[in-house]
């Protein structure tokens, strides 16, 4: 048998760059029909980017996609669907207010009467087809239910049914079990096995190693935008997967640590979210002059935890002490008063004001400070403060009146840091502070962090980059499925240990 026929899909030597990052570097993926092919790697390893290329959401810089032995160009999701590629993705929402059957046949409704532009929809056929489809897949969903009334698991089943109705030969599932209960996972696996029997290939992205070993036939592991290798899952073990996911050489690209942690600044005891799927029973201490790294995989609820500490999310129980005093934080305003600052993960969504200048972006969390005579803004003081901070943090901007949107990611991040430093916080929480920033700027951010710690600030840094966690933190707290699975002092921490803790409760 020729090589072409062995694979339903080959992605050959795919490369893709974004400004400042090489997201995919010469990645090859070969998927056989009727198998589950798992795609694994740390956050940012390039799995999602590769799948977005396949589904036509991104276009590769180089490399080719071969479907059933034929090179194809997938320019948009529509083309992907028509060529038999479907994606079950949490970000691709259905139309919430319409019924299940309308969502499944969206854009290709069965017609009963065709008067050119006016086409009457054949509801009977649509209902019957949907029912047959759902029955065939043994899905317990009524075709006429509004999608907004369905559970996450049912919506996912519906999306799978939709993929099947498109005659999909390849179904991409991105973290399909992340919000499912155990029983729902069992059901999903039943559906997957059924799909396999029909010759459908599943590309399965997940961090859950147990799950992968159970459901996958082959596993491709990626790291830092490159393919590490592909193995039959029977050859793999938990430890092998972990070591291949993280097995990189640690190069010395971090500034020397000069800070020394001293007395306890903040103590968190048994913090539990009101959302049962989010963080629970989280306790830790944070010291003055310390950088506490928080590691974990997607879904570990790290962002949710720090947002709760900052008053953005509701907490069911637990206590927070700052300098041994119990504090109640119900809003970011409270948090600010308690000396906490938070640089959010999504710089563009909840960080910068793109249409405002560097100056406005710097002072926005602290406008009160510049209230001068008659309640008007004291321009002079504001300018001198902004100029000082920009200089201190080495923000590279033509003037302080430049729009922040025109700055590089690293410089935007420095402006955000300047914003929060002006509030004179004791505790600085940085959520993925170097995401989407080039290497040089990263180094500068690390230097700034160490410098701040040295001056007595207590810093929490959420990071999905292992080397960063290991290189900058004094201690590393690892979360898994909303719980603290361990705290490692820097000297004892290794990539393998962190990854093992990160997958502990999965």
């Amino acid at each position: 048998m020729g090589d072409e026929n062995r694979y339903v899909l080959e992605m050959r030597n795919i490369s893709k760059s974004f400004p400042g990052v090489k997201a995919l570097d010469d990645v090859t993926l070969q998927v056989r029909p009727g198998t589950v092919h798992a795609l694994m790697g740390e956050n940012g390893a390039g799995k999602s980017t590769l799948m977005k290329v396949l589904f036509g959401l991104y276009f590769q810089d180089s490399g080719e996609v071969i479907l059933n032995g034929e090179p194809v160009k997938v320019e948009n999701p529509r083309q992907a669907l028509s060529q038999g590629i479907s994606m079950i993705h949490q970000e691709l929402h259905p139309v919430p207010h319409r019924s299940v059957m309308e969502n499944i046949w969206l854009g290709r409704y069965p017609i009963t009467l065709n008067l050119g532009p006016i086409q009457l929809v054949n509801h009977k056929k649509m209902f019957a087809d949907t029912k047959a489809l759902l029955d065939d897949l043994q899905m317990d969903i009524h075709p006429e239910t509004r999608v907004r009334e369905l559970s996450v698991s049912k919506i996912q089943s519906m999306e799978i049914a939709k993929a099947v109705s498109y005659n999909a030969k390849i179904i991409i599932m991105d973290e399909p079990t992340s919000s499912l209960t155990e029983r729902e996972v069992v059901h999903l696996f039943k559906i997957i096995n059924d799909l396999k029997a029909r010759g459908v290939a599943i590309i399965y992205i997940s961090h859950k190693i147990e799950e992968i070993l159970q459901i996958a036939d082959e596993v491709t592991i990626m790291r830092d935008g490159k393919r590490v290798g592909t193995w039959a899952s029977a050859e793999l073990t938990n430890d092998l997967i972990i070591s291949r996911m993280v097995g990189r050489e640690l190069t010395n690209r971090f500034p020397e640590k000069t800070n020394t942690p001293s007395d306890v600044m903040m103590r968190v005891e048994g913090l539990t979210s009101t959302n049962p799927k989010s963080f629970k029973n989280v306790s830790f201490e944070l010291r003055r002059g310390e950088i506490l790294g928080i590691g974990g995989l997607v879904g570990a609820q790290r962002t949710e935890l720090v947002e709760a500490i900052f008053g953005l999310r509701a907490v069911a129980s637990g206590k927070i002490f700052i300098k041994d005093r119990p504090v109640h934080i119900n809003s970011p305003i409270d948090a600010k008063q308690q000396g906490i600052a938070l640089l959010t993960e999504e710089r563009r969504v909840s960080g910068i004001f793109p249409v405002l200048s560097v100056r406005e972006n710097t002072v926005v969390a602290n406008l009160r400070r510049y209230r001068g005579r008659a309640g008007l803004i004291d321009e002079k003081r504001m300018r001198s403060d902004v100029e000082n901070s920009c200089q201190q943090l080495r923000v590279k901007t033509p003037t302080i009146k430049t729009l922040i949107a025109n700055l590089s990611g690293g410089n935007q991040q420095k402006v955000l840091l300047a914003r929060w430093l002006l509030t004179e916080p004791d505790i600085l929480i940085l959520d993925e502070p170097t995401r989407g920033i080039d290497v040089g700027a990263k180094y500068e951010i690390y230097t700034l962090m160490l410098d701040l710690a040295k001056r007595g600030k207590a810093i929490i840094m959420i990071s999905s980059e292992m080397p960063e966690l290991l290189g900058v933190s004094d201690r590393i707290l690892v979360m898994s499925m909303g719980q603290v699975s361990g705290v490692l002092p820097q000297q004892e921490a290794t990539q393998e240990k962190i990854m093992r803790l990160a997958t502990q409760y999965m």
């Binding site: 529509r78 669907l81 259905p94 139309v95 409704y109």
Partner: protein, 339 residues
């Protein structure tokens, strides 16, 4: 008999809130003055609401796609003026076109509907192809259409005089009826509005176009991925609405027996208000024809009913405003999910 449980009752109230409000409103007015519940009053409210129903059905489709149309009222005014200018009696002293012979009634009606379609098409192009936000796009065309209408209205020999002397067959469109004269007769204008409502209901519920409009409003990205031609659908819905405004303008002129360039002023806001009160979501994807009808009727009942029981017209304004705000707050609470 088993009593319905609380959840089922709440669902019933949620799903039918608009109709319950309408009934309560009617009963409250009838409580003040039982004479309100007469066939004659019902008939008057229906006549007053007819053109508004047609306009609301046009705007409603646009709202479903996350759009809006501020130019609706001015299009109604333009259609009113055009139709009136062509349908004056031959012996009227101040004819708009002194030498125009008597033309079949249907010709000006079609011209007005076509004018609406062309202007709506322009709205659709601006929104779908130039990506101008609907609010701004139609704010612009609203002003432009008023300008065009005023120029037409100012032409010699009319010179911006109110257009009157309309032909009997034309005014009959707005004031005629089927059946014996009296409270039980059915006005043509009401029949037309109801026929249009049925057609729009079929369009929205039974055709691929309707389904696509709901899909676009519910999730534009999903609609695009599923191969729906989003820009074509948007152009269609604005053009269709234009046709509705054209028809409404003709009927409005026929009903009132005249037209000026200020006809239709602010009707778009009434129509949008009626739609949102009727459960159409301005964030798209939600809205039904019965809801739109109920929305228009609520305002009809308020206008007519509160006057009937002698409520100060300024108080009516306050009541209307409160209903708009709370109807939408109620709707949002229904779908709002706390994170």
């Amino acid at each position: 008999m088993k009593l319905p449980d609380k959840a089922a009752l709440r669902k019933f109230v949620n799903d039918n809130a608009i109709f319950i409000v309408l009934i309560i409103l009617v009963l409250a007015i009838a409580f003040q003055n039982p004479a309100f519940l007469s066939m004659n009053n019902l008939r008057n409210i229906m006549i007053m609401s007819s053109t508004r129903i047609i306009i609301a059905l046009g705007v409603g489709g646009i709202l479903i796609t996350q759009g809006t149309d501020l130019s609706a009222g001015r299009m109604v005014g333009l259609a009113a003026v055009i139709s009136a200018s062509m349908l004056q009696t031959l012996d009227y002293s101040r004819r708009f076109f002194p030498n125009l012979p008597e033309i079949p009634l249907i010709v000006p009606i079609l011209i007005c509907i076509l004018t609406g379609i062309i202007l709506g098409f322009a709205n659709g192009l601006i929104v779908a192809k130039l990506n101008v936000p609907p609010f701004i796009a139609t704010l612009g065309t609203m002003v432009i259409i008023y300008g065009m209408n005023s120029i037409y209205f100012a032409m010699e020999p009319n010179n911006s005089q109110p257009i009157g002397g309309l032909r009997a067959d034309f005014t009959k469109l707005g004031t005629g009826y089927i059946g014996p004269s009296g409270p039980y007769s059915i006005p043509y204008i009401v029949i037309i509005a109801l026929i249009v409502a049925v057609l729009v209901w079929v369009l929205l519920n039974k055709t691929t176009i309707g389904k696509s409009l709901y899909a676009i409003g519910g999730n534009p990205q999903a609609a695009r991925v599923s191969g729906i031609n989003v820009s074509r659908m948007l152009i269609f819905v604005y053009s269709f609405a234009g046709a509705m405004y054209g028809l409404a303008g003709v009927l409005e002129a026929g009903r009132t027996g005249g037209a000026t360039n200020n006809y239709g002023n602010m009707y778009e806001l009434d129509a949008i208000a009626a739609c949102v009160v009727g459960g159409v979501s301005t964030s798209g994807g939600i809205g039904t024809v019965p809801g739109m009808l109920a929305g228009v009727l609520i305002f009809g009942v308020i206008n007519y009913g509160l006057t009937f029981i002698g409520v100060n017209p300024y108080w009516q304004q306050i009541v209307k405003g409160l209903i708009i705000v709370f109807a939408v707050a109620f709707d949002i609470a229904k779908y709002y999910v706390k994170k």
